[in-house]
């Protein structure tokens, strides 16, 4: 019986495992191997160059730029998305009118939830088209057109949005505009995630805090937020991965996929550029491996920082 069961399980597992090894694990291994070569992608020759690609990577001005842009997103995306999502979740769940008894969200909170969650349902292509229309640089742009009609800006000097490399707080403006899209698209999901977590906290605890004299804000900061720690840290990990990727938005929204003049260059766009535009497959693979190692280090750090302890209500 035992033997038969093992065979049964193996029978089911064999095919997916083989497919996984062939299509996922092997290419990873291959990438690592290619990263030690100067393969150009089209020839059979894969000259072994040792750690040259990695040494070059550290000297590459563009890669360094891309890295710091990723770091910017890595900090800005989770911080702003989580802060906004927490604020909205607070309003929708416990931020209702102060002059009435009990705890409730603002009026019409369920409608707001749907509205805030809506961007999550749109495909990235739709999001990009929508924001391209918003960010358009002439009087046909939704924002520029309106501002021009209102004579806030002149027709000759439209807002440049994603084609604006001017630094703001040391970061090119284009990255801030991309950040805005990421926040818009991501906040709804995390708001729903936090709302669900908040609703799983027994109501009694909020009420006890109220009776203890805590204002809504104080009870949120001192009672609710500590109870959301696990959920927030999960959100942090997800958003961290999104920030490390960010490829699609940069690719679709920015001029010359990382422009203008490399102002929105990120790791992923550099990998793409090196592999498919410059034919430096080996180098692109080294970049990808470096990004993977960076992501793993971050994940390990995250796991160390989050001390997991179970909460009993």
């Amino acid at each position: 019986m035992r033997h038969g069961r093992a065979r049964f399980i193996t029978g089911f597992l064999a095919l997916p495992v083989v497919l996984y090894l062939y299509y996922v694990v092997a290419p990873f291994g291959q990438s690592v191997y290619f990263s030690f070569t100067s393969w150009r992608g089209f020839s059979d020759e894969k000259p072994f160059v040792g750690l040259d690609n990695y040494v070059r990577l550290f000297r590459d001005e563009l890669v360094r730029k891309a890295f710091w842009h990723n770091v910017f997103f890595l900090v800005a995306v989770p911080v702003s998305t989580i802060a906004l999502a927490l604020f909205l979740a607070f309003l929708l769940n416990v931020g209702g009118q102060g002059n009435r008894a009990g705890i409730r969200g603002v009026r019409g909170s369920s409608v707001y939830k749907v509205i805030f969650f809506f961007p999550q349902l749109l495909s990235l292509v739709l999001v990009a088209i929508l924001w391209q229309a918003l960010y358009r640089g002439d009087d046909q742009g939704l924002i520029n057109g309106l501002l021009m009609k209102l004579h806030v800006i002149s027709r000759d000097e439209p807002l440049k949005f994603v084609s604006d490399p001017t630094p703001f707080l040391g970061v090119p403006a284009v990255l801030w505009w991309l950040l805005l899209i990421a926040i818009w698209g991501g906040t709804g999901f995390y708001m729903v995630l936090f709302s669900a977590a908040m609703q799983s906290i027994p109501r009694d605890i909020y009420e006890a805090a109220l009776l203890d004299g805590a204002s809504r804000v104080a009870s949120f900061v001192r009672v609710t937020l500590p109870l959301l720690r696990d959920t927030v840290s999960v959100a942090w990990v997800y958003l961290g991965f999104i920030a490390l990727d960010f490829y699609a938005l940069v690719f679709v929204m920015t001029p010359s996929q990382g422009g203008p003049n490399h102002a929105s260059e990120i790791f992923a766009s550099q990998i793409n550029f090196n592999a498919f535009n410059s034919g430096r497959y080996g180098y692109a693979c080294a970049l990808a491996v470096a990004l993977t190692i960076f992501a793993l280090l971050l994940a390990a750090l995250q796991l160390r920082v989050i001390r997991r302890d179970r909460i009993e209500f």
Partner: protein, 406 residues
């Protein structure tokens, strides 16, 4: 009623008198109503006056509106009609944090991420009490409740009884105008509940803080309350001392709800100065207003209203016990009575509030009595015995209205 009960924890007993509160605040409810969205009337024009320092228990079957009423006093539930006064202040439309009352929840509602110390001190911190004063008061309350060694633990690392004491401590430490307790003992096992009940009584004696306590357990209500308010379907039935409630219930529901085991009911008639049921004639007590009446009534007899037939002249009832429940010093006998069973909304509500199993014991048509006899009296199932009915311990109710006929 506040006599110490067995099982009290010694640490509570050894602490000298804490703060007596001569300035204790009363609570007054005037025609308080609560109608939920959807039209359900949970509380219907309740008038209740809790005197300063008094311990009042709200009791009733589940869904009777007692918790809603408590939450309205706390400010956690909006009042649909009427007014609530704390002392001489109308707090009807005040926020919970402005009312200065403390509540102990059934679930304890401790803050899971905070240690016991911070749980206790949270209310003081929110009220901007200085750290030295806060520490002093937390230490004092921890000592009273025997929590000193637990101060640095989180709630998850505490037993049910310890959590309950922390919840109590959190209420006490703030020295609020009133304690509101929503079934605070119902998550404890039976033995611990008895011991905590005693502790609660002692604490109240010491602190003298006005307390409103909600429970569905009439034993808890009777043992704890200086006065007990019985609610049914959102309507206050009677608010009285436990003794008065037990001896002089105003209606069938209160009579059926208070007392354990429940009062026995049987359809009877009154004529010629005596009550008649099951071929038995029981003379009415002297001075009864029913002396000259000729009518149908519902007759109620407590299980303790019987005695073993002796030469005391009480009318006797020959009965065959179906079930004998041994309680040690006493026995409960369950006997069939050859008279129609009383089945009104009030008795059903009161019985259902106890246990569903009680209801199953009721036979279809015949009345069934529970009789309490001394444990040393020889009784066996199926063996007939004579039970004497104490005419002084009879209750009469109007079959239509359920009101007590005196």
């Amino acid at each position: 009623m506040n006599a110490p009960l067995p099982g009290t924890r010694p640490q509570a007993a050894n602490i000298p008198l804490q703060r007596a509160r001569p300035e204790a605040t009363g609570i007054r409810l005037e025609q308080v109503s609560k109608r939920f969205r959807g039209g359900v009337l949970a509380v219907d024009r309740v008038d209740l006056d809790v005197r300063p320092g008094e311990f009042v228990v709200l009791v009733g079957p589940s869904g009777c509106g007692k918790s809603t009423l408590l939450r309205m006093i706390a400010g956690l539930e909006a009042v649909s009609g009427g007014r609530i006064w704390l002392g001489d202040q109308d707090v009807t439309s005040r926020l919970p944090q402005e009312r200065d009352v403390a509540m102990v929840f059934q679930s304890y509602a401790l803050y899971p991420r905070m240690t016991v110390r911070r749980n206790l001190g949270f209310g003081l911190r929110m009220r901007h009490t200085g750290r030295p004063e806060r520490n002093r008061r937390v230490a004092e309350v921890a000592e009273v409740l025997g929590l000193e060694h637990l101060l640095d633990r989180r709630p998850a690392a505490l037993s049910g009884g310890q959590r309950q004491r922390v919840a109590m401590g959190r209420a006490i430490v703030r020295e609020p105008k009133a304690f509101l307790m929503d079934e605070p003992l119902s998550n404890l096992d039976a033995k611990l509940r008895v011991s905590m009940r005693a502790q609660l009584s002692r604490l109240h004696q010491r602190l003298g803080t006005t307390t409103v306590y909600v429970t569905h357990d009439q034993v808890e209500a009777m043992t704890l309350g200086q006065r007990v308010a019985v609610l049914r379907d959102g309507v206050l039935q009677q608010c009285d001392t436990p003794q008065h409630l037990f001896r002089h219930p105003v209606n069938l529901f209160v009579a059926a709800f208070i007392g354990s085991p429940s009062m026995n009911f049987v359809a009877a008639s009154v004529s010629g100065g005596a009550a008649h049921f099951a071929d038995l004639r029981v003379p009415l007590p002297a001075g009864s207003s029913l002396a000259t009446a000729d009518r149908q009534v519902i007759l109620g007899i407590r299980p303790t209203g019987f005695g073993v037939a002796e030469s005391n002249g009480w009318p006797t009832l020959r009965a065959v016990p179906d079930v004998v429940e041994e309680l040690g010093d006493e026995r409960n006998l369950i006997i069939d009575i050859n008279a129609p069973r009383v089945d009104t909304d009030a008795t059903r509500a009161a019985v259902a509030a106890r246990t569903a199993d009680d209801a199953l014991l009721l036979p279809e048509e015949k009345a069934r009595f529970t009789v309490r006899v001394p444990g040393d009296h020889p009784v066996s199932i199926g063996e007939p015995l004579d039970l004497a009915v104490n005419p002084e311990r009879l209750y009469f109710f109007d079959p239509e209205t359920g009101q007590t006929l005196r």
